[in-house]
């Protein structure tokens, strides 16, 4: 009974979210003087209008969003504001490309090694910020944003130097050998096996959050480092560092999968900001990896539809970026309202909560 009403509520919220999104998009299109019907039609067709759109556009984009969404959720849960999923994704992509290009003849082995390299590179990239935070007290919001730029220009450098294709004509690497790529799923267009990895990771992370002692520690440290330390005897530094590095590793894996399953080469613009959209994906999911599976689909569809709108109706895709930002604002505001309600429900003697 209770379960039913909860499912119903989730359904209502989901439908409400999509309805609100659509009307917000329509409103912005109207204000911008675009052909609303044509643009919405393109949005629909480009994201969920056909089997091809679902698999090759929406789901392909949902894969990196799902992984980076989980990455952000892991970090945020522990109170680590990792804004650097983008940079960690690029680091992972670059490392995977390097391995895949260096050993084109060993097929599956190279593929696995490349995926592992992506995980390690992403973890290491986040590890820099983790070290700066725990050792020197550098705020991770700042350091991860800075590391994003370093990763972005690092990739720029690579595709013009060490990893540039032999003709030196384009800022990109050579194409990865076919045997080293992630295989495509039969009958599903450009959709590749990366989706299975992403789903497995999301399921695993959600399970760990709910059932494992490590997941519980992560939450406790995020809620109150002082209580985690004092009542839980939890090593706060260690827990935060682990969350940070795990977060980076997941984002790095996303980059590796993108290179090995979609682009087949290292490009400067490997990611259209997946690492940033991931923050919205994770927040909308309430930092729950299981719900990230669905919010990443939503954002995947939005990204796919935005591309189609630009192509077919001449609407700049930045409009959808605005919508995404509005969605985040809405979610954050809703959380604040809910929090306010619960804090006002108690009766006496709590007074003002301590600010720390």
């Amino acid at each position: 009974m209770l379960r039913d009403s909860r499912a119903l509520r989730v359904l209502i919220v989901a439908i409400g979210t999509i309805a609100a999104l659509t009307s917000a998009i329509a409103l912005l299109l109207l204000v911008g003087g675009y052909d609303v019907v044509r643009a919405l039609d393109a949005l629909w067709t480009g994201s969920v209008g056909s089997w091809y759109a679902v698999t090759s556009a929406t789901l392909v984009r949902a894969i990196p969003l799902m992984l980076t969404g989980c990455a952000v959720a892991v970090a945020f849960r522990a109170g680590v504001f990792n804004i650097g999923a983008e940079g960690q994704l690029l680091a992972g992509g670059a490392a995977a490309a390097a391995i895949a290009l260096a050993f084109p003849d060993t097929g599956r082995v190279t593929l696995l090694a490349a995926l592992l390299a992506g995980i390690l590179a992403g973890g290491a990239w986040a590890g820099i910020a983790a070290l700066l935070r725990e050792r020197f007290g550098v705020q991770e919001v700042i350091s991860t944003i800075m590391l994003n730029f370093i990763a972005l220009y690092g990739v720029s450098l690579l595709v013009r130097g060490m990893l540039q294709e032999p003709t030196h004509a384009y800022p990109q690497s050579s194409t990865i050998a076919e045997a080293v790529r992630l295989t495509r799923l039969p009958g599903a267009g450009r959709l590749h096996t990366g989706i299975l990895i992403a789903l497995a990771i999301a399921l695993l992370m959600g399970w760990l959050f709910r059932n494992s002692a490590a997941g519980f520690r992560l939450m406790a440290v995020g809620e109150s480092p002082a209580a985690a330390m004092s009542a839980g005897m939890i090593d706060v530094h260690r827990t935060r560092t682990m969350a940070f590095v795990t977060s980076g590793a997941l984002a790095g894996l996303a980059g590796a999968i993108e290179v090995l399953g979609v682009t087949y080469a290292l490009y400067e613009d490997l990611s259209p900001g997946y690492g940033y959209t991931a923050i919205a994906v994770a927040l909308l999911a309430g930092l729950d990896p299981w719900r990230v599976m669905f919010t990443s689909l939503l954002f995947g569809a939005l990204e796919a539809g935005a591309g189609a709108m630009q192509r077919d109706a001449g609407v700049p895709s930045t409009l959808v970026a605005m919508i995404e930002a509005l969605l985040i604002l809405g979610v954050v505001a809703a959380q604040a309202v809910r929090r306010r309600r619960t804090t006002h429900a108690h009766v006496d003697d709590a007074g003002l909560e301590p600010t720390t």
Partner: protein, 510 residues
């Protein structure tokens, strides 16, 4: 430059206000205030009349509605019904800023200071216009002169002891020209000597023509320092009379709705102490800032005894307790302790609970750092249910957020979590292990009944063989519970006989 607190007129009060001429000036009047929070009726047509020049004690148990009523007076909670008058003028208080503009000031139980800012900066918060370092400093000096408080403008608030932070809170209210001061359980965090100083200061402040509302549940404070006492119980006014007209037992029965019980039954000797549980040898400890707070402390605590620790604030008892509980690293020396040590810290909200998490998760928090593998949620929920039953924690369900509980119920759950011998990683191991418990001001902010329950639990744990180290800022609490007493003064420990005077002298190093 103003002198003292006297002779200041609020800009919001016309000079010809008839109320001032005809009747004794009523500084603050709350008429028929009602407030509901969802299902809970917090206040039911409560009226409170506070005269200028008086200290008005507001008594009541936790959950009686004292804080909510004062939140109404301070513009933090808007009442469902009722009127607020300040100096005879009807006011609509929509925010604390409105209340401050009307000459009200409130010192909350949990301070609202910015820890990383200086005293001067905290006082300047909420002001307008340009910020000048010398005016800020001057304000602090002026308030310090007025009040006799020792305030160092450039000291960082986070470096100050609790008592000093409280003085900054009061100074902050006075810097905004408060003539009506609301203090929520101000002595709860203070040592007896500090509490006494504060109460005398409150008396003087009121005598200078100001009004003070003193929220408390300490009868003796209300009887000794207040002019008028109002008692709330379950959102109703159950007693409202001059302090001189009420006896302690009348007030107690008004508060708890039954005849007063003996607060401190004399310590039963219990079983003779058993094996050694805690041993500290030449232990020195630094605080978070790296200052050595405890020097060369040695002590032994046996199973089945309560070692009471007394000391004025910041004497090193905090570090001693945390070293014994294994919560801080010792700088030198060694500590041996039972494998499982429960710890009840003084600052519950900060150090003991996850306010936004469920009761089960809060129970699960204990020793989560040592846990491996899966969380046994089913067993943890059962354990939470059992603790709620055994420790009389009144809460709707195990999945209710900790925040929704009253302070007393929160503390009972924390105590249960830390005392319960089955706590720890592998429940029901069967073998009775020595249980160690380190407890810091366990009844801070609790009402009479909850205090008595907490005390009974501690005694029961002691009688069951637990080795307990107890510090409390309330010396009587230490005396009533302890088998032996250790006094910490300026970082050194020394055992003192169970005599109030002897302990008091040792606390001040005499």
């Amino acid at each position: 430059m103003r002198s003292g607190f006297r002779g200041r007129s609020s800009p919001h009060r016309p000079a010809s206000d008839p109320a001032r001429v005809t009747a004794p000036p009523l500084a603050l009047a709350l008429d028929g205030i009602s407030k509901r929070f969802e299902a809970v009726n917090a206040l039911h047509e409560v009226s409170l009349r506070v005269e200028a020049g008086t200290v008005h004690a507001l008594l009541g148990e936790n959950g009686a509605g004292k804080t909510t009523l004062m939140h109404v007076a301070f513009g933090m909670v808007s009442p469902d019904a009722g009127l607020v008058h300040v100096h005879g003028r009807r006011v609509e208080l929509r925010s604390p800023a409105d209340a401050i503009a009307n000459g009200l000031g409130m010192v909350h139980q949990h301070f609202s200071l910015v820890p990383t800012m200086t005293v001067a900066e905290n006082l300047a918060l909420g002001g307008h216009g340009l910020l000048r370092a010398h005016t800020m400093t001057d304000t602090v000096r002026r308030i310090a002169d007025q009040t006799g408080f020792a305030l160092e403008p450039r000291a960082l608030v986070e470096d100050l002891a609790v008592g000093a932070q409280q003085r900054v809170e009061i100074a902050k209210a006075l810097a905004r020209d408060a003539q009506i001061l609301i203090l929520d359980e101000p002595t709860a965090v203070l040592t007896p000597a500090e509490a006494d100083d504060l109460l005398h200061w409150i008396r003087d402040f009121a005598d200078a023509g100001n009004a003070v509302v003193l929220i408390t549940h300490k009868l003796n404070e209300a009887m000794a320092f207040a002019d008028h006492v109002t008692v709330l119980r379950q959102g109703h006014v159950v007693h409202d009379a001059p302090a001189a007209q009420a006896s302690a037992s009348e007030l107690t029965s008004a508060m708890i709705g039954r005849n007063a019980q003996t607060r401190h039954p004399p310590t039963s000797p219990g079983a003779p102490p058993g094996e050694t549980a805690f041993v500290a040898r030449n232990v020195s400890v630094r605080d978070e800032q790296g200052v050595m707070r405890l020097h060369d402390a040695s002590l032994v605590v046996r199973e089945g005894e309560i070692l009471g620790v007394a000391g004025v604030e910041a004497s090193g008892q905090r570090e001693l307790l945390r070293a014994l509980a294994g919560r801080v690293q010792v700088a030198t020396g060694t500590v041996t302790r039972p494998t499982r040590v429960g710890f009840v810290p003084e600052d519950r909200h900060r150090d003991a609970v996850l306010l936004d998490r469920s009761l089960t998760e809060n129970v699960a928090l204990r020793e989560a750092g040592r846990r491996r593998g899966r969380m046994p949620w089913l067993a943890l929920r059962e354990r939470t249910e059992r603790l709620m039953r055994e420790f009389d924690v009144r809460a709707p369900a195990t999945d209710a957020p900790m925040r929704s509980l009253s302070g007393g119920n929160q503390q009972k759950l924390v105590l249960g979590r830390e005392i319960d011998p089955e706590s720890g990683i592998a429940p029901a191991t069967g073998s009775p292990e020595p249980v160690g418990l380190v407890v810091e001001s366990p009844t801070r902010g609790l009402d009479v009944l909850a205090t008595a329950e907490v005390h009974a639990r501690l005694r029961a744990a002691r009688d069951a063989g637990a080795a307990i180290v107890l510090y409390s800022s309330d010396l009587d609490e230490v005396l009533s519970l302890a088998n032996r007493i250790l006094v910490v003064h300026a970082g050194t420990v020394r055992e003192v006989s169970m005599d109030r005077d002897a302990v008091g002298r040792a606390m001040i190093g005499a």
